[in-house]
Every structure is written in structure tokens, then in C-alpha cells.
């Protein structure tokens, strides 16, 4: 699959690029400055990754991941709307406010804001609680679950398959309304990292068998 990671030079974007490349996907690391994405691909020694400007990266991709900071989320999505239309757009943004508070936009979640701004995109919220430094170290097993939600069941299923392709487990959390909970949970996990002096906490759904399939 050809995957664009917008804001792909940040911690989460780099971690995802490492894992997607290892799984044989083609990755386009989007950035405001296309040379930065290229430099990241070179530095991480990712032979199947290239750098591009964000809009160009999205245009070329089958699936687009938003791995940008929360700040400026709405403006960024509005700017990108023409190249996101019709695509599966995976929003991983965590609405982290001052003092590790949950600070979502009026739509209830960053993912819901994306869906509102690009109505014909198939927005899927995912990857919020997975530790970037776990992703970045390809020697470590991806033993954290990814809660996946979105109003398009096919989009959700595609993202769950993508997550499986990198050796992790995507858990189907239903429609996009759940994104508020998943994003808030990510804020809570950031707080746990601070409180417990960790940098790689994440979540698991306990007692969900490995072969469980959603109905």
C-alpha cells in the first residue's frame, strides 16, 4: 500500500514510517518542507520511503495518515481538504491542551473535526495511544493495541488490516463518535507517562483473544 504520513517528520510519523517500511509498504513522508521528509527517510535508512510536501504526499497515496500536532489541526486539514477528499484518512492527532488536559475542538474530537471539514473523506481515528518510541525500535514487538474507530466500516477494516501488517492489533471501537474517548485516553496515557516517569506506555484490551473478530 502507498501510505502518506503528513507531519511525518515528528515522533509518531517517524515511528510509523519505520514499521510501514519494514512491512513492505511504500511510504511518503510529508512535511511542509519536502527536503525534511527526504532527510528523515535517509537518516532512518528507509529504502522504500521518500519525502514530499504534505499536499503532494497525500495526492500520491492510497491512504493518508495525519500525524501532525494538535495545534493548528483545523487549519491544516482545511488546507489539505482538496487532496484528502475520497481517501481513507487516518487521524492520529491527540488534542493535548495545557497541563495535559483533553482539549478537543467543538466537534468533540480532532478526528470528528477532520470528518466535518472533509465530508467525503473516510476518516478513521487510530494510533493515538501507541508509543512512538516503541514504533521506532523495530526490534521490539508491537505489543500495544490500537483502538480504531470511524463511520466507514470498510475504512476501519482497511486500517485494522494495515495495523496487522506491522504486527500489532487493531481493535474495532465502532463509529467516529468513539474518537473523543480514544483521543482523551491518549491524553490520559501521556499523563501516566509523566506520573510514572515512562516514555513508552500504551494500552491493551485484556481478555480479547488474538483471533477475535468483530461482528
Amino acid at each position: 500500500m502507498r501510505i502518506a504520513i503528513l507531519g511525518g517528520t515528528g515522533d509518531l510519523g517517524r515511528g510509523l514510517a519505520v514499521r510501514f517500511c519494514a512491512a513492505g509498504h511504500e511510504v511518503i513522508i510529508g512535511s511542509r518542507d519536502p527536503s525534511r521528509g527526504t532527510a528523515v527517510a535517509a537518516r532512518l535508512n528507509l529504502s522504500n520511503a521518500t519525502g514530499a510536501a504534505n499536499a503532494g504526499a497525500a495526492r500520491e497515496a492510497d491512504l493518508v495518515i495525519l500525524a501532525c500536532p494538535h495545534e493548528g489541526h483545523g487549519t491544516f486539514v482545511r488546507d489539505m481538504a482538496p487532496v484528502l477528499a475520497g481517501k481513507i484518512v487516518v487521524d492520529a492527532t491527540v488534542p493535548l491542551g495545557p497541563g495535559f488536559t483533553f482539549a478537543p475542538p467543538p466537534e468533540g474530537s480532532d478526528a470528528a473535526e477532520t470528518q466535518a471539514l472533509v465530508p467525503d473523506a473516510r476518516v478513521v481515528a487510530a494510533f493515538h495511544t501507541m508509543a512512538a518510541r516503541l514504533l521506532a525500535d523495530r526490534a521490539r514487538p508491537l505489543d500495544q493495541d490500537v483502538l480504531v474507530c470511524g463511520d466507514d466500516p470498510e475504512g476501519r477494516a482497511t486500517v485494522i488490516d494495515l495495523i496487522a501488517s506491522i504486527g500489532a492489533r487493531g481493535v474495532d471501537a465502532g463509529g467516529l463518535a468513539a474518537a473523543a474517548t480514544v483521543e482523551a485516553l491518549a491524553v490520559l496515557v501521556v499523563g501516566l507517562n509523566v506520573r510514572y516517569r515512562r516514555r513508552d506506555l500504551g494500552i491493551r484490551i485484556a481478555h480479547l483473544p488474538p483471533d477475535a473478530r468483530p461482528r
Copy 2:
């Protein structure tokens, strides 16, 4: 410790009673009808549990657990306020609305509503995502984490110790503002149980070492 479980004849209350009794705590199962609590204690063969009316149970206890349904939460807490004042009050209520939606009161969470109605109680939110049927089967290890939050650090620490006494792990999620996230997560877990046809899902904080202590 002498623990009152109000609404203790429901699934969560019974499960907690089983584990608390097994850990040697004294349990008072509160119910509107005191004979129901007594009947539950007898049926579960819990020698260190008794039944009582909710208010009487709370009055006798060192620590009070609210294990009542979300419906009528505010009214119930208002009625109980005189006997909850000054105590550690563990609110386990999940604001489950129609269609498995998160339906919190205006305060943002049921636990915040409790704190607002009983300002001098030490309200701690806990136990929301732990599966009642896992609790009820004392042969099974309690391998699900309990997110614990509240504005009184000593109250949080007491509840984390209580959770350790039954063989589970309490994770310090900080101040009571986090209760909205924890309660919403419990609603999400209810949805996962439905979607995956399970009845005992819960959560784990991944990569948190067993000996980790919050700062």
C-alpha cells in the same frame, strides 16, 4: 478494612464483594432492601459479608463504594450525602446512555457529580473497566488494570492499596478531571464486549512495570 458497597447486589457489587471477602476485608452489601444484601452474602457463601440498607451500610464503613446504575445517580448521591461526608467514596458508576453512548451529567462525569454533591467526601473514581464476571470468579487472576483518579492523593493511594489487596493493579490516573475519560473508556469497553461477543473485556496499561510507583 470495613467496606460498604452501595447497590452491592448488582453484578459489579457482587464481584467486588467476592474479592474483598477473599482478601479478608469486612463487607457490608448495601441495598434499598437490606434483606437482599443479606441474601446475596448468603448465596455467595461470604462469611465476612452482611447486608444492610444503603445508608446504614455507608454509616458503618471506613470506605464506601458506589456500584449503583447510572440512572438516578444524582438523586441517589444526594440522598446519601449525609452518610458519605468525610469518607473515601469510590465511584464506579459508568454513564452508559442509549445505544452504548457516553452520557455524563453536566459535571462531566458521575464521579465529578458525586464530588459536587458531597464536597467534603474524598471521591475516587475506580473499577469502571474491570469485568464483573472476572471479579466474580475467584479462581481467575485479576489481570486487568484499574484506572484510579481523584483530587485527594491520600484517597487515591488508599484505593490503590485496596486494589492491590485483591491481587489487581491500580494505576494512578491523577485528579478527578480524568474520571470523564475513565468513565467514557468503560462505555467503550461495553461496546467492545458487544462487538466482539465477549463479556469479560477490560484494559491493561502496557509496558508499565509491576513495581512502578507514581511520583
